[in-house]
């Protein structure tokens, strides 16, 4: 039915299966859209946020998704600037995942603000002192970059590519992609950092506050570093999931292992930095403001020392060791365990830097404020997940996302025409050229 749209040389599931999958995920999407409309039309009273929890689940999702989307800029940096050429086999997927993450982040922000119609005030009445202003500018610009990086991939669809205009447009875009990759890396450095700065500059909140360098608190650098470190983990985790779902090998192990190794060393260095930061904060910064570590991790029903352990040891030290050591890294199970722990670790870090910041009492006579999200918040948080899955499903089906797919999955029962098609289609499957 849609064979004409499917890239040459690869096999896709039957249409009914595809539509069934779309339908199931689409239902979740619609549920999320319903919740989103409720939030827009009835207001943020649909959430369980309150005056103590001005930031809650969504902002966590936002920060987490942006950190995980960091695979795009960092892989781009490695591929186009540093010249790790093997990564061309996974860069498409990294860009797609990045695009999904960043568009989701913007959507979440549009739901999260109390006056969505005034969202543009952040640009029009910009306050240069605000980390959020920096986030807004860099995030929007980087989203534009990701869009530009994603467009040529769309244009490579078999049918679109037949249109000379699109063909040439895509060709031209490929040619300048290094420029965008560099811009993207630069922008990412700042918005990842300023997201870290959002919490770190809160000098009224000893739990979040960090000293730093020039105008930036340490969290600025930690966030950038962690996004670069864990983003690829997420790309690899999603790739692994995609391989499991499609029951196909899509990317060669040498590519996976290269990115995993880089990620491992990044996580390792980041974790050392994070431990230094935590130590300084626990021993100098917080006590200077009159608070002990115990003030932040005891006296409430949820936030205990376990969260510190889970973030730094389980989500930092452990995956770093697995990915650095060649033996463990090459073991498929250990590798995936590391990806999983890494993704958990960075998500937990973002959780702590948003939710726990809000929960800890600051005034000595105040108490912990715990919160649980309303269904509307959960639904709108799942909305981008569903949207991401749908976009991946469609992109995977119709676009040549994985350049190595055809090679790794030769279509055996086909006749010689197929072989011909294969060789002919090879250039189509070539990834973007610098």
């Amino acid at each position: 039915m849609d064979t004409a749209l499917i890239p040459k040389g690869v096999k896709r599931c039957p249409m009914w299966q595809f539509l069934l999958g779309l339908g199931i995920v689409g239902a979740v999407l619609l549920w999320g859209v319903y919740a989103m409309l409720l939030c827009w039309f009835k207001g943020l009273n649909q959430t369980n946020m309150n005056d103590y929890y001005g930031f809650a689940l969504w902002i966590w999702a936002d920060l987490a998704v942006i950190a995980l989307g960091g695979g795009a800029f960092f892989s781009g940096l490695l591929r186009y600037i540093i010249g790790k050429d093997e990564l061309k086999h996974i860069i498409n997927y990294a860009v797609l995942i990045g695009f999904i993450c960043y568009s989701s982040a913007l959507l979440i922000l549009a739901i999260d603000i109390g006056q969505p119609l005034r969202g543009w005030f952040i640009f029009w009445h910009a306050n240069v002192h605000s980390m959020l202003t920096e986030v807004a500018f860099c995030l929007s610009c980087y989203f534009a970059v990701l869009t530009i990086e994603y467009i040529p991939l769309i244009l490579e669809n078999r049918q679109l590519d037949k249109v000379p205009f699109f063909h040439n447009l895509s060709h031209n875009m490929h040619e300048i992609m290094a420029v965008f990759a560099a811009t993207g890396a630069f922008l990412s450095f700042f918005h990842q950092g300023s997201l870290g700065g959002v919490a770190g500059v809160l000098f009224g909140r000893p739990f979040a506050f960090r000293e730093g360098l020039l105008i930036w608190p340490w969290t600025f650098f930690l966030f950038t570093w962690s996004a670069a470190a864990y983003g690829p983990c997420f790309t690899l985790l999603i790739t692994w999931i995609t391989e499991k779902v499609t029951r196909k090998k899509l990317v060669k192990d040498n590519v996976i292992e290269l990115l995993a190794k880089i990620s491992g060393w990044m996580i390792f260095t980041y974790t050392i930095a994070k431990i230094c930061d935590t130590t300084r904060w626990a021993n100098i910064t917080a006590p200077g403001l009159g608070q002990n570590l115990a003030d932040f991790y005891t006296g409430n029903a949820f936030y205990g020392y376990w969260i510190l352990f889970a973030e730094i040891v389980l989500g930092g030290v452990v995956p770093a060791i697995i990915l650095i050591s060649a033996g463990l890294r090459k073991h498929p199970t250990w590798r995936v365990v590391a990806f999983f722990l890494g993704v958990m670790g960075v998500s937990l870090n973002r959780w702590v830097m948003v939710l726990q910041v809000m929960a800890v009492p600051i005034l000595p006579f105040d108490t912990w404020a715990l919160y649980y999200p309303s269904w509307q918040e959960v639904a709108t948080t799942l909305l981008p997940v569903a949207y991401g899955i749908i976009l991946i499903m469609i992109s995977y089906r119709y676009l040549p996302i994985f350049p190595q797919e055809a090679e790794l999955n030769p279509i055996e029962e086909e006749t010689s025409t197929a072989v011909e098609a294969h060789t002919k289609s090879a250039p189509d499957l070539e990834p973007a050229k610098a």
Partner: protein
């Protein structure tokens, strides 16, 4: 009438609240709600979604019966000056919807500019900022008492105590018509100060030695505006928020409750602004 542009000292409006006098009666809260068109809902018992620009905290000394003691602490916006006007909330607002006035020291909130990102709420350690989670709705006919001097806030924006800024504007207009230069102490008083039946709140210009609040607080400009009055303290002084609301008490446990202290630290001794 002659109006000269004079380079007079900027003002720093602030408060001194005597916690030994405050009875926790709530008149200040209510005066504020009445003065500033603060909305209300049927159920206001969840204080995490209840807009009270002036909120009264109940403190206790943590001792068992019969040595228990309680103290009420009224908390308007502290109008933090931070370092050179970088109050916690002002510096974070991406849309410049809240600002530190170098003329008056008042931290403003411009509702029509705010787009409801709530970053300022996260930044304020005093929980002085409130979000309009709901549309403000008055029961039929009750909107008659709304004051035209303060705009009614729409859903989705943040609001907070303004030190009754509209009263300053009215006083300033009057002063201008009278050809004076400075707003006299008595002409600009906040609604909570005016209402307090215990006379616990004193409001005025901390920079003006003629104002009572200056005489009570005796701010030490060399030392981050720390008070020279041994009875006085500020909330979370060591965070460097440099607030303009001072509290007074003879009771040490009350003064100690104003800031976070490590066990070995002496009350009032470690309040050096942090940065």
């Amino acid at each position: 009438m002659k109006h000269e542009q004079n380079h007079t000292t900027p003002m720093r409006y602030g408060m001194a609240i005597d916690l030994d006098k405050c009875t926790g009666c709530g008149a200040c809260m209510t005066a504020c709600m009445a003065e500033n068109n603060v909305p209300f809902k049927e159920d206001e018992s969840d204080k995490l979604v209840s807009i009270t620009w002036m909120r009264i905290f109940e403190l206790n000394n943590g001792k068992a019966f019969p040595d228990t003691d309680i103290c009420y602490l009224p908390r308007p916006c502290q109008h933090c000056e931070g370092h050179g006007g970088h109050s916690p909330c002002v510096s974070v607002c991406p849309a410049t919807a809240t600002d530190y006035s170098q003329e008056t020291g008042i931290v403003s909130q411009i509702y029509t500019r705010c787009f409801g990102c709530r970053y300022c709420m996260g930044a304020c350690p005093y929980h002085a900022r409130y979000f309009n989670w709901w549309d403000p709705v008055w029961p039929d006919g009750m909107e008659k008492y709304l004051s035209p001097n303060v705009s009614v806030r729409m859903r989705g924006v943040v609001e907070k105590c303004s030190f009754c800024f509209h009263r300053y504007q009215l006083a300033k207009n009057q002063v201008y018509l009278d050809g004076e230069r400075k707003v006299p102490e008595a002409d600009y008083q906040t609604a909570c100060t005016q209402a307090c039946p215990a006379g616990a709140i004193v409001f005025g210009d901390l920079n003006n030695p003629e104002h009572q609040v200056h005489q009570i607080v005796k701010p030490d400009s060399e030392n981050g505006n720390k008070s020279r009055n041994p009875r006085a303290f500020r909330l979370l002084e060591r965070l460097g928020t440099n607030t303009k609301v001072y509290y007074l008490s003879n009771r040490e446990w009350v003064r100690r409750a104003g800031d976070n202290y490590l066990a070995h630290e002496k009350t009032g001794q470690v309040s050096k602004p942090h940065h």
